[in-house]
């Protein structure tokens, strides 16, 4: 892809998915005008992080755009309501039992992790997916999500803790 073509490609992707973006935003913001603003902001962020858009894989692209839209909407919600649900340091990792003692890694483990991530609260799964799959830096994720770098680190660790805990539970269940 020529470097200069990305604007046209992002424009095409936006036009294809703008209804999805709008309804994701509307579900979070519950306001038509806000949802439209969030859609425009999502377009701007898609342009900024266009190099992470996989133009060849429709599902990946749709998931990525949905994540951008979701986090842009949460960001707008927090900014406009002046309500930050996750102030820095306000969240603490739950004390969990050491899952390694109880968990057995099998071939099914990867599939279980897939399901855990898909069922996880996007607040935690999105930063993990941005970081581990889209190879974004925590600074970039913090900008997209409208939170601090520290919060991004926290949420990635929290996502891993959730996975460990869930695997531990399932391992115990298997026994």
């Amino acid at each position: 892809m020529r470097k200069n073509d990305y604007v046209s490609k992002v424009e095409r992707l936006y036009r294809r998915h703008r209804s999805l973006i709008y309804w994701i935003a509307y579900a979070i913001l519950e306001d038509e005008a806000w949802a439209k603003d969030a859609s425009q902001e999502t377009l701007a962020r898609m342009l900024k992080y266009h190099d992470r858009l996989s133009f060849d894989s429709p599902v990946e692209t749709k998931n990525y755009i949905a994540r951008i839209a979701r986090n842009t909407s949460f960001d707008m919600y927090n900014r406009r309501k002046k309500y930050n649900t996750l102030a820095d340091g306000s969240e603490t990792l739950p004390v969990t039992d050491n899952p390694t003692e109880e968990m057995y890694i099998t071939k099914e483990t990867v599939n279980e992790i897939v399901e855990i991530i898909r069922d996880m609260d996007p607040k935690y799964s999105d930063p993990l997916r941005f970081h581990k799959f889209d190879k974004m830096t925590v600074e970039q994720i913090a900008e997209i999500m409208g939170v601090s770098v520290r919060t991004v680190y926290y949420r990635i660790e929290k996502a891993k803790e959730i996975i460990k805990a869930e695997l531990g539970k399932r391992g115990a269940g298997h026994e």
Partner: protein, 237 residues
Amino acid sequence: MNNKDTFDKILDSLLDEALPIVESMPDKNLPEETEAPFTEEDERRSLAILAKERAALRAVRARTYLKRIAVCAAVFMLLCAILVMSVSALRAPVLNFVTKPANRSTQIQLNRSDNTDELSVEAVYEEEGLYIGYIPEGFSLEQRTIGSASKSTFLQFKNGSEYFNIDTSIYQENTDITIDTENANVERMRINDKPALYSEKETIKILFMYDENYTYTIAGNIDKDNLVQIAQNLKKY
């Protein structure tokens, strides 16, 4: 490395396997994609965002091209400089071109190596004979001036639009004579074993020389050979 670190490493590698699978499946709980109520105003806003991005891209591209042009120009100039400096036939004209405008005039310092007494101005006027052994055909004396203040003799010969002047002055030790050589071809030579400077422009040619007693300036629009021949046959007693 404790159990926790080992487990974290294993979990990271499991995530590397699991996440591509997660991304290959549509996310759960995505809303239905019914047509969103976008208006023309919303469309204009979207287009404005895209236009802004394109403008920024154009600016970046322009800066990139300018940098490339500057680098190419620098390389071209460097190659030209190397070529010019390595070919003697090119080197001289180019250096002349570069240095000539700076040489607006040429100064000649009159300096006699022996310590003979200077001639007095009165003595010069008393001796006032000027021998001109060669005058190009067709030229006749038009003007003759003896400058009492400048202590010089000035003769002008004309033949239609052609002319030449002979200007003599007393040689004065350690004085500077300034000759306009801006944008002129300049040549140093010797005439009758005397140092001389020839300067040629489109409109005027000047031949300057001096001996122990006098300075001679022959200037006009006649050709160089005639000027040299006049100088070779010129003597002030």
